[in-house]
Symmetry: C2
Subunit: 188 residues, 2 copies
DNA sequence: CGTATTTCTTAATCTGGATTAAGGAGATTC
DNA sequence: GAATCTCCTTAATCCAGATTAAGAAATACG
């Protein structure tokens, strides 16, 4: 699916408006472990993944990585706290695979909203979708045991699970890699 | 703070635009335990709390209440999954105190967006704020022990904590009331 | 009032998942 | 093809917080 199709799922835009939209985007490429956003930097952009996979994470007090989100093709990712508060990011956004993104800086976002008001609507809808995904995550956290969360996660994301190391899935689910091993051997 | 002031924190509106905004709202009152949204009903509104306090919760498989959100004065609350998906709600929104809200139905929201395009911007910003609050919640869940989460919660919400029973705080934090008692006696 | 309902506390016991420690196995690199 | 990473597994032990079971306090209410 192209970005054009993606946008049209939420608001109707024609080719001309799409050209305008794209004129504010900048294509960027990252190798695995390269960072779209570094710890302590102010996040000034929203990133749309066109190819590859990234993770958003930080380090706990004990120095362990804690992954909050993955993003793959056709997802937006940003540190919204840093972006909207113009504050130093407490998170890192980092490529897992060779990744291509379309970067929309906040300055471009604001002028785009002025030139094409339906962009405001587009991002209102995207934020709602993003919020709902996070709310669902919270429901799993509170309602399911870690084992059920894991089994559910691999069932619903079987193709994605192939793409990232198991210890990252463990971090995302808030469990240890050892515990994932335990579950796997238990379920034959 | 009035709704007029609340809106002006995010987008500049004049008195005339505010009148238009308000013409789409409907004032509603609820007694404690009355429901703004019932389980299985399709959520068609966003609610702005002007007075009182509500909770959004569901029942776990074991039949226990799991609270996901509280909302007090000057917060919006809705079941966004049900609202945007026009699907039966898996949640309940219920008054804890005698509560007054301004109800904005989805139909009114849509016409309001057409009449006053900056409403789209307003809700885009509100959704970002709402998302950031939830992301912060997730960070606490993954980074802090239950004890630290509780101590942090009562420190940052000391006035709110007076307003709701302790077992609801326990549910919101995902712990048992017994465990809260334990923490309280431990911290003299 | 007194009775009932709701909320909170204490304490013993139990358990899901962490921690620790060791080793194995597949890639990469030289 | 040996050395070095990176990732995964197994198993013993441990612990934060749940569960269970009683009561004790508040609060509401006829």
């Amino acid at each position: 699916m192209s970005l054009f199709d993606y946008i049209n799922r939420y608001v109707a835009i024609d080719r001309e408006e799409y050209e305008l939209f794209c004129s504010h985007l900048r294509l960027r490429s990252y190798l695995p472990k390269e960072r779209l956003l570094d710890l302590g930097k102010i996040c000034i952009s929203r990133f749309f993944i066109t190819k590859g996979c990234v993770r958003l994470y930080n380090y706990t007090e004990e120095g362990k990585e804690q992954i909050y989100h993955f993003a793959i093709e056709n997802w937006w990712i940003s540190d919204y706290a840093s972006l909207t508060g113009r504050s130093p990011s407490k998170q890192i956004i980092e490529a897992i695979e060779p990744t291509e993104v379309l970067e929309l800086t906040n300055a471009d976002f604001e002028s785009l909203c002025r030139e094409l008001p339906k962009v405001e609507r587009l991002f209102r809808i995207i934020m709602e979708k993003t919020y709902i995904a996070l709310q669902n995550r919270l429901e799993f956290l509170f309602n399911l045991t870690s084992e059920k969360q894991y089994l559910n996660f691999i069932k619903r994301n079987s193709s994605f699970v192939q793409r990232v190391p198991q210890y990252m899935i463990a971090s995302y689910l808030g469990v240890t890699p050892e515990f994932i091993s335990k579950i796997k051997s238990k379920n034959q």
